[in-house]
Subunit: 477 residues, 2 copies
């Protein structure tokens, strides 16, 4: 252990033991340097490490403080969706949201957009520029259908952090995670089949199920531990289920990560009932604490898990670089991917590969993990303060999405309509269910809490919710 | 008309009237300047124009010559495919070809790759580099699902040249033409349906039909006028056809462009039998003569034609920028596109939009149209010289693909295997049929005939074909 790491550990121990409380000022750099008999720069490095680990913060011109954490909020209850396979509805609402994407004026809390202005992304755009101008112009040629070799090597390396030991040949590059999900679904299902999803569930996957002519069976889901394994087992007994589609780590929208023992038990169920799992890991690398949670894929010895992911949330969505680790379904999925879009653009693949290879991805993750945890705490704080009594909030351990249960009288579609008139958009809860449940829920994206517009937006949402409650005091449905 | 244009017209008339023959030397610049009483530079500009128009050529240190054209080759006969809807086969061969794409050593005549080294593409890579570094970093954000506004405006402008007057809102950007085809097919068919294709037909569309669970009905096709309208009408009478998928302009692999009157008659049939057309126009802009042929879409008043295209052949395939003009199927196709890949990368869309807007696309087309016509003539010359008697060759009026009918004894799969041992690959004919027809056909890409490897490859293919013929003198099937 290096000297500055020793100093950091000592400080961390003191905080853990309660010598310093949340929000307390820590000793000055000079003071610590004298106490430990180390140089000023060693103390500064130690503080830097604790900042990176999200333990303390530096306040300009004031000093270092123990990071003020929000107490966990009151969580929504376990969901209880319809217990029948359903043809997915809600397409019109989604369409509405897509069409509005271009609108400039709103504080968009509706979309799951990461921070693309982080300084740690600068090397990426530099690499893109350099590669564009590279003399041999090969960025203009078709990339191999399975994707760039270098990129597949780098992804295999990154996947080690989630417990996976995968050969680069077992990776297929896609145009984002959505293409990964869509191709995987097409490869393992046929029209009329039933696919299991958690509930609430990301609308992109639910609707992809729909256009495949497949039905969705929603399973009750706990906001901290994920899909109910008891309910899942009952579903396997009762229905001819063809596949499971889940986001087990830093779930969208609920934020949960299934505990390892649940992941293992789930895999046992899948093996027993011979059902493939499409595992969406798109937020996996954004876990606040290290090591990041393991994927279910990492426990899989039968090639049953199809891992789908992308760099849309952990780097930037506009580059559209995702991947599939297809297990035993490789041949069929490769074919579907080829016939869906031949190959993925070359330039962005090469740029991302270099970005990872040169160590920039790790640095970037370190930065945004910390930022997003702070954003979560800040926004939860405002929600607690501003939203009507009875509001419940998810408590994610990674990513930047919050799932908010509003008092029953608040219809989030109506809330969204009114919010828009004030320049704010949210994602109404009904988008996250095949059957239009979650009328009084919303998902909000809480990236960049240092932008005052975000706090203002929460204040407005609080006011509007109260307005709606006042108008529906007499239930009339 | 400018002075140099007048001089050029005079010269062109003399050539057309037969005063100069193919291969003849033209008057010197000084001589013409005196004859017409115009400046040296005016004559040089006039000659430049005729070079651009593919009428004459300049031979270094020698002067200007009337371009030597190949007499049209003997064409393959009209095809006569199976007259039943079929589940598409041949997937294994395609898979083989995809997996080999990365291999470095071959003279790849197998793939339809344009010239990405043309000097006229330099502005594109420059634009990509500039946009990557643009301060606001918006290349990192999701683009609107329908695609960049600016790009859709530019495409609407470009489409005017094919007779289409389309509003930018009637365009959806895709990740290449393959995604355009795949989404269109998914939107208008369901598993079990029958789709009509020409025969031979691009394997990407035929196989996309297959993975949709749809059957292909191949229609006899003439190498100069395209799909037989009589056969098509009979098919409409006989089968419940759900869609037509054709490449009516600069067809892959046959090279034909349907005459306008056939395009109009085809549309009448579609209207009469209420069948949508997926029109693949990916080679349309590469027609050798201007104005380029009209699309069937341009005659459509009922929103029945779904036009699919991309810049993969006319600019570069690695950028993966394509589009759909979806007619009356917009809503459904938009949904399928969204759920297939959310959106198309932003950077390449912006770069292509600027490339067109700043006039570079037109310049580039002028250059490659001329080059590809020369390449066609050169390669047809070598094929006539090198291939065994009885070989027939298509005579495209645009693009850079040749469809070659070899003597019956030559199995092009075997030819391809042997060619590979010599560092050459071709696309075997069976890839272009649902039922594995065209055993003795091959498609070759004839870009860049000034590369000596291309002529050598044709010599080798000639030798190998003769070898195969000698070995199969005694028919044994
Ligand atoms: C859970 C989940 N999966 C997949 C996606 C799609 O990701 P991509 O932009 O890489 O296609 C998203 C994007 O919002 C998501 O939240
Ligand atoms: C006729 C035809 N359509 C579509 C495509 C696919 O084009 P893209 O690379 O834009 O997906 C090709 C490519 O070879 C083609 O020849």
């Amino acid at each position: 252990m290096k000297l500055y790491e020793q100093v950091a550990t000592t400080l961390k121990d003191r905080i853990d033991l309660g010598y310093y409380h949340e929000g307390d000022k820590l000793p000055s750099v000079r003071g610590l340097s004298q106490e430990h008999g180390v140089s000023i720069s060693t103390v500064q490095e130690a503080y830097g490490l604790l900042i990176d680990d999200g333990v303390i913060e530096s306040r300009p011109k004031s000093g270092y403080y123990v990071l003020l954490r929000q107490a966990p909020p009151e969580l929504p209850a376990t969901s209880s969706p319809a217990s029948q396979p359903l043809v997915v509805a809600q397409w019109q609402k989604l369409q509405h949201m897509i069409n509005e994407y271009g609108s400039q004026e709103t504080t968009k809390l509706s979309l799951a957009l990461p921070d693309t202005h982080a300084a740690t992304l600068k090397p990426l755009t530099r690499l893109m520029a350099e590669l564009s101008r590279s003399a041999n112009r090969n960025v203009l040629d078709y990339e191999h259908a399975a994707g760039s070799d270098l990129l597949r090597h780098q992804i295999a390396r990154v996947m080690v952090d989630s417990g996976c030991r995968i050969h680069p040949d077992e990776i297929i590059i896609t145009s984002g995670c959505q293409e990964a999900l869509s191709c995987s679904l097409r490869a393992v299902t046929e029209p009329g089949d039933i696919v299991v999803v958690d509930s609430p569930s990301f609308f992109g996957s639910v609707q992809a199920i729909k256009i495949n002519g497949v039905k969705a069976l929603e399973i009750p889901t706990h906001p901290e531990t994920g899909i109910s394994l008891e309910a899942l087992e009952m579903a396997f007994e009762q229905w001819p289920i063809k596949a499971c589609l889940l986001t087990p780590t830093n779930n969208n929208p609920l934020g949960y990560s299934m505990p390892d023992q649940n992941k293992i038990r789930l895999l046992e169920l899948l093996n027993r009932y011979d059902v493939p799992l499409i595992e969406d890991d798109v937020y996996g690398d954004l876990s606040y604490t290290l090591p990041r949670p393991r994927t279910i894929k990492s426990f899989d010895t039968q090639g049953r898990v199809i891992l789908c992911s992308s760099f849309s949330k952990s780097i930037a969505p506009g580059i559209r670089v995702g991947w599939i680790s297809p297990g035993r379904y490789r041949e069929h999925i490769m074919m579907v991917k080829y016939l869906s879009s031949l190959s993925t653009p070359k330039l962005t693949q090469m740029a991302v590969a270099e970005f990872i290879a040169q160590g920039y991805y790790e640095k970037h993750l370190r930065r945004v993990r910390r930022d997003y945890q702070r954003d979560r705490d800040a926004v939860i704080g405002w929600l607690k303060r501003e939203m009507p009594e009875g509001t419940r909030i998810s408590y994610p351990q990674g990513g930047y999405l919050l799932w908010v249960e509003l008092p029953e009288q608040v219809d989030s579609n109506e809330l969204n309509t009114r919010a828009k008139a004030r320049g704010i958009s949210i994602a109404p809860g009904t988008l996250f269910s095949a059957s239009g449940k979650y009328r009084n829920f919303m998902r909000i994206c809480c990236v960049n809490s240092s932008n005052p517009a975000l706090e203002k937006a929460i204040v407005t949402l609080g006011q509007l919710s109260r307005e709606l409650m006042a108008q529906t005091l007499l239930p009339h449905e």
